[in-house]
């Protein structure tokens, strides 16, 4: 047998460690994901199709898409602005700002939902004002959008900021010196260099926007056909013992998650190639 290097483990140790790691991941990741698809198609593709195209499912899909369509662009603009501000400039209060941008990650989604119910609900400080203008936010779609914006707030900034920071300001300064305007510099110099990180941030933000449960559940009021998003619909179907239907809707969300991971991998390859 070949002698092994002193900084490597014996073959049997290596194999045992790999096996243990794979067993753990299989139990907690692979089996649950496979189970989603297996249960979703357990009664055949036709049953799956009728479950995801049923009237209530379609209204949940519509609201989920609408929510993501509003929340993601808002957070895209905010995320790029915050990344530009924090990466390109030094100013007092910068680190406090950075903490605040990250804050929604450390707040429980349920508490996020609660905050908006307290602020915008009937008994909140803005409740009277909103009611006078017949604006219902809590227990209505606008509340779902606001709660979603909150929980997905840091994603874009989180992905773009470290890259912008590590790239420094030299190229932007060169562009400005050569006569480019501020916006030209941003669109032609900065943006192409962070586009892959930006794309991943947007995809991650979108996945969370479509999949958020806790915050949306608290502000939704669970009104069927009106404030029902896909994840909430999964819960409703489950509580009604419509397991195949619940898994069919869940399989849509799982597919979205797998696509998100695929995009991440592509982005990593692109980043490594450049």
């Amino acid at each position: 047998m070949r002698e092994r290097a002193a900084t490597r483990e014996p073959v049997w140790v290596r194999r045992a460690l790999i096996a243990a790691a794979l067993a753990f991941l299989a139990l907690f990741l692979f089996v649950p994901v496979i189970a989603v698809f297996a249960s979703a198609f357990a009664e055949g593709p036709l049953k799956w199709l009728s479950a995801v195209t049923d009237r209530e499912s379609l209204s949940a899909i519509t609201l989920t898409l609408l929510t993501a369509l509003i929340a993601v662009p808002l957070n895209l603009v905010f995320g790029v602005a915050a990344a530009w501000l924090i990466a390109k400039f030094r100013f007092p209060g910068r680190s406090v700002l950075l903490t605040l941008v990250d804050l929604p990650f450390s707040i429980s989604p349920v508490i996020a939902g609660l905050m908006f119910v307290m602020l915008l609900g009937k008994n909140g400080p803005f409740g009277g004002l909103l009611e006078a203008h017949h604006l219902q936010i809590i227990f209505a779609p606008p509340g779902i959008v606001i709660a979603t914006v909150f929980v997905t707030f840091p994603f874009v900034a989180r992905e773009v900021l470290p890259l912008m920071q590590s790239q420094g300001n030299d190229q932007e300064e060169a562009a400005l010196t050569l006569g480019a305007s501020g916006w030209q510099t941003f669109f032609k110099v900065t943006l192409p260099r962070v586009k892959w990180a930006l794309l991943y941030g947007v995809v991650l933000c979108n996945a969370r926007a479509m999949g958020e449960f806790g915050a949306v559940s608290v502000v939704s009021g669970h009104i069927r056909g009106l404030t029902n998003t896909l994840p909430l619909h999964v819960e409703i179907l489950y509580n009604e013992y419509q397991f195949t239907g619940a898994f069919a809707v869940a399989s849509l969300l799982t597919f979205l998650a797998l696509v998100t991971l695929g995009v991440k991998k592509v982005v990593e390859w692109r980043a490594a190639a450049t």
Partner: protein, 296 residues
Amino acid sequence: MRNDGAVARRETVAIAQKSSLSPFLRRRRVLPGFGLSLAITGLALTVVVLLPLTGLFVKTFSLSGAELWEKVSDARALAAYRLSFGAALGAALVNAVFGLLVAWVLVRYRFPGRALIDALVDLPFALPTAVAGLTLTALYAKNGPLGRVLEPLGVQVAFTALGVAVALTFVGLPFVVRTVQPVLEELDPSLEEAAATLGASRLTTFRRVVFPAIFPALLTGFTLAFARALGEYGSIVFISGNLPGKTEIVPLLIVTRLEQYDYAGATALAVVMLATSFVLLFVVNVLQRKMLVQRA
């Protein structure tokens, strides 16, 4: 057409001439967009984060001290704390051990399917927690594929505290792997070679050389997984069975109180949990600063 470049240049020169400004203030003005990006960020943070947070704290301070204490310390709340903290701690510990193992295997060994597995580790970040709860419950229910195996052994997972811990382990799985992985990758191999040259066994090298180097990252990942588990709600709704005093976590009790129009009770609990997360956030910040110093 306006010549922005010339304007920018003139500005740069003009600012550079104001020698009384400190170097970083002068630097600030070289790139445009400070005002605009500050305005957008400031407005968004105020409306989306600061205003709602302030509202919550104001509501809490409108309660009397005795009322507040009663809301956060009644028997049902205490049971919820015990389950939330206990299950989150158990899940974070499991993730610390297996996360370290997974990170080690992914960085140090080559085997078929490694790239795919590396990509799938992030799944709990991307998969909606309601889906995780649904599928884990179905797997571990009495008639589920895993529950059927465990049932004769006397182990019940779904609708028990153990089930809560299983769901929280899923939710926190990527944190330890993703914090330890980059540190392991950057670890200087000459350190381990030196240890081996000096006669240390592989285990001793790991214990005395590798482990101390990755310990801050491990602790960071552990804290992140713990914090994430404390706030989790979506998956627990499915797997816990939601029995008051038995399988009821704190976020669930908050929702229950809210649905019973007990706004004061819900807010009081929320503030306890918020304070805990802020402490954990602070711990993570301190740890990360330590790691930066160590790497420099």
